[in-house]
């Protein structure tokens, strides 16, 4: 392993766990610092749900592709409906979409749909997909559904409030910088990464106090620090606050913090399903680029309950695309390829802003969140259209 850290858990019995993504270092690469110890303060006596990550289908990933799903940057609602119905049936083995949804939720659940609006409006969780997830949840009898993310202004940029059905609550946890009112101070991860004055990241109250299940809708997107932002990053960094402090260019501690956050209860147990939105694909400049030259339109969806397995497939897809486009490898650690600033990075796929940490996926796997070895993943592709 090339990066290791020590994670301790309060209240759940203190356990020492050394984690970190593994990868041999190439000649000429920098030697990155080890992350600091991370202290997790979770819920006392919380009983882990069998539906929680990695969930009902560890190591299983279903890809559904339809060439008609997106045309000229417009997502087709009817095509997406068929894709989601098919994907849910393929994932669960059920014969009807309603039965498939019922494997994860009951009518008494309060379901939170975790969107990724950070790239809004150019690349965020498609409202068409969110609408179909709402349709599916309602087919299983769920009445209380909310859509959430940390940042209400990105939600507004995505237009979700105006594009979703009547009766769906749209919740932005933070309305402006340093707004901590929407967080539960009893649940946090504590670590001092760069000498920051606030060393805790708190979990959103909407997760701890309102919702009973989470359906995660990340996007297919590269990330300047984490390598990619998929199920794990969307869930962890989109539910805990004060996580930007893990980045100080060119160093980032997204590995291992993303996995540690996702393993914290009750977030881990409540996240029962992920549908990764690959209608669009940001292959450079993520997470917030608006530049269309770096945004493809592959029109695919990935289904899974195992966020590590889904993100491993996402990493492979984006790595392949970047290779085709002549972009730097997501694993590149050559200091000569570091951009002088964000502007240069945003325009040049041969530059990095951070020594990216795609090994955060493996680190999450080592925390028990899922399968990271690609040859152990049960990956099925279904072509529609």
């Amino acid at each position: 392993m090339n990066r290791r850290t020590f994670v301790t858990h309060a209240l759940a019995g203190t356990t020492g766990l050394v984690i970190g993504g593994a990868r041999a270092r190439a000649a000429g690469e920098v030697n990155l610092p080890d992350p600091p110890p991370i202290h997790v303060h979770g819920l006392k006596d919380y009983r882990r749900s069998p539906l929680g990550m990695p969930g009902l289908f560890p190591g299983r990933v279903i890809e559904i592709h339809d060439p008609n799903a997106i045309r000229d940057n417009h997502v087709s609602q009817p095509v997406v409906r068929r894709m989601i119905e098919q994907g849910m049936k393929e994932l669960t083995g059920e014969t009807s979409p309603a039965a498939a949804w019922a494997r994860f939720v009951t009518p008494n659940d309060v379901v939170g749909i975790k969107i990724n609006p950070a790239g809004a409006p150019a690349c965020c969780s498609s409202p068409e997909i969110v609408r179909e997830v709402i349709h599916g949840l309602r087919s299983a009898g769920v009445r209380d559904i909310l859509v959430y993310d940390r940042f209400s202004y990105y939600i507004q940029a995505g237009g979700y409030h105006a594009l979703l059905p009547v009766g769906i609550r749209v919740v932005g946890v933070e309305h402006r910088e340093s707004d901590v009112s929407g967080y539960d101070t009893n649940i946090y991860c504590q670590a001092d990464f760069f000498g920051e004055w606030e060393t805790r990241s708190y979990l959103a109250s909407v997760v701890t106090q309102q919702i009973t299940k989470i359906v995660n809708i990340p996007t297919l997107k590269d990330h300047s620090a984490a390598g990619v932002t998929g199920c794990l990053k969307n869930l962890g960094y989109g539910s805990f606050n004060n996580v930007n402090r893990t980045h100080k260019a060119p160093i980032t501690f997204t590995d291992p913090l993303i996995g540690v956050l996702c393993s914290t209860e009750p977030l881990r147990s409540k996240a029962v399903l992920s549908i990764l939105d690959g209608m669009r694909e940001v292959w450079h400049g993520g997470p917030q680029t608006q530049l269309q030259q770096f945004i493809g339109q592959p029109g695919l969806l990935l289904f899974g309950t195992d966020p590590v397995a889904v993100d491993t497939i996402e990493l492979a897809i984006i790595s392949k695309k970047r290779e085709l486009e002549g972009a730097l490898s997501l694993w590149d650690r050559n200091p000569a390829n570091m951009a002088k600033d964000g502007q240069e990075y945003s325009l040049n796929p041969r530059k990095n802003l951070f020594f990216r940490q795609p090994a955060h996926i493996e680190a999450a796997g080592r925390l028990g969140l899922g399968v990271w070895e690609i040859n152990k993943i049960n990956y099925s592709k279904v072509e529609m259209g």
Partner: protein, 348 residues
């Protein structure tokens, strides 16, 4: 504290019931200094309005704030107990606005005392529009409401079945608004009966303007539409790179609208032909306001720009806070604007 002199009223979204954007009231010079600035308790997502010596602004802290434009100090605030995204509207002695709990309030504009409230089933982000003694507003509960200005008594409701975030445009006998079910509605303002509907390709958050017998409105389907106000038939539509939540402004037969693709578009009112477009930011969600040959707009990432309406050339640019959909108030002597950090600025 410096003194701002006001000879202007700016009583509702984009200035007045005709939604003119304050045309002719502002000379378009670059602001030279900050007269005052004030930080509110929470983020501002709405636009300020102005009457007399008071600037009225709603905030996610749940209050309507009345700010003395001379001192920049708060004269009073009216609490509602829930966040507010709705831009206030002023009519006679009343300030009207909705809140995120689904209530619409009328408060006394000099004291902030509540006069009446109407309850709906979900958040009201739209700005109430007053015409002929009636207040019109849409709610996220899927209903459009008409209430008496004097009492708040609901006169009629119209069920669209889908969330309404588009502020209505009212005129004699007609009221127009967009809806998240892709439709633009024209209702009889006296009865709430449907006169016509027109359908776009996606949900609508943009608020309509009316000019030359055309209803002008943006859609999340990336297009700006000009609909015949009498029939709803599409006269023209113009496609941009992303959705349009910005509400269009019209001056000298030019329609100006921002798109989430970051461009400000200037189109010919009659034909929809592009006169010019300028990328001013990564994302535009707010509405432009027009003065004497100058269009002013706040962009998502914090830029506030003034451009020549004829050419699109930048006249001045200021880096202030991020704006989601807030628009500035322009007067002869000052510009008032707010950002998502809750900062309110008076620029001379």
């Amino acid at each position: 504290m410096a003194e701002a002199v006001n000879t202007t009223t700016w009583v509702t979204l984009l200035c007045d019931v005709r939604r003119t954007g304050g045309q002719g009231q502002w000379p378009g010079r670059a602001p030279e200094r900050v007269l005052w600035q004030l930080r509110l308790e929470d983020s501002v997502r709405s636009s300020p309005v102005l009457a007399g010596d008071l600037l009225y602004i709603t905030c996610l802290d749940g209050a309507l704030h009345a700010i003395d434009v001379h001192s920049g100090r708060e004269a009073w605030k009216s609490e509602t107990g829930s966040g507010i995204h709705s831009t206030p509207a002023i009519c006679a002695n009343k300030v009207l606005f909705g809140n995120d709990s689904g209530q619409v309030f009328a408060v006394d504009r000099t004291t902030g005392q509540k006069l009446w409230a109407v309850s709906t089933g979900a958040e009201v982000w739209t700005s109430p529009v007053v015409f002929g003694g009636t207040v019109f507003f849409g709610s996220a509960d899927g209903y459009f409401y008409a209430a008496a200005l004097s009492t708040g008594k609901v006169q009629w409701t119209f069920r669209s079945g889908a969330r309404i975030y588009s502020t209505a445009y009212a005129e004699e006998h007609r009221v127009y608004f967009g809806c998240s079910n892709r439709k633009v509605y024209c209702l009889d303002s006296g009865s709430g009966e449907v006169v016509w509907t027109a359908e776009s390709g996606d949900g609508i958050e943009s608020s309509p303007a009316l000019a030359d017998g055309a209803v002008l409105i943006g859609s999340e389907d990336f297009s700006l539409y000009a609909l015949d106000a009498a029939s709803g038939i599409i006269r023209w539509k113009y496609s941009t790179g992303l959705g349009i939540s910005s509400s269009p402004a019209v001056a000298n037969r030019t329609v100006l609208a921002g798109s989430k693709d970051g461009f400000l578009y200037a189109l010919d009112l009659s034909s929809g032909r592009l006169n010019w477009k300028v990328q001013i930011s990564n994302v535009i969600m707010a509405s432009p306001v027009i003065s004497e040959g100058v269009v002013c707009i706040q962009a998502f990432r914090g830029e506030t720009l003034a451009l020549d309406t004829a050419t699109g050339q930048t006249i001045w640019r200021a880096q202030l806070g991020m704006s989601v959909q807030s628009c500035p108030v322009l007067t002869k002597s000052a510009i008032y604007l707010a950002d998502i950090e809750g900062m309110v600025y008076a620029l001379e």
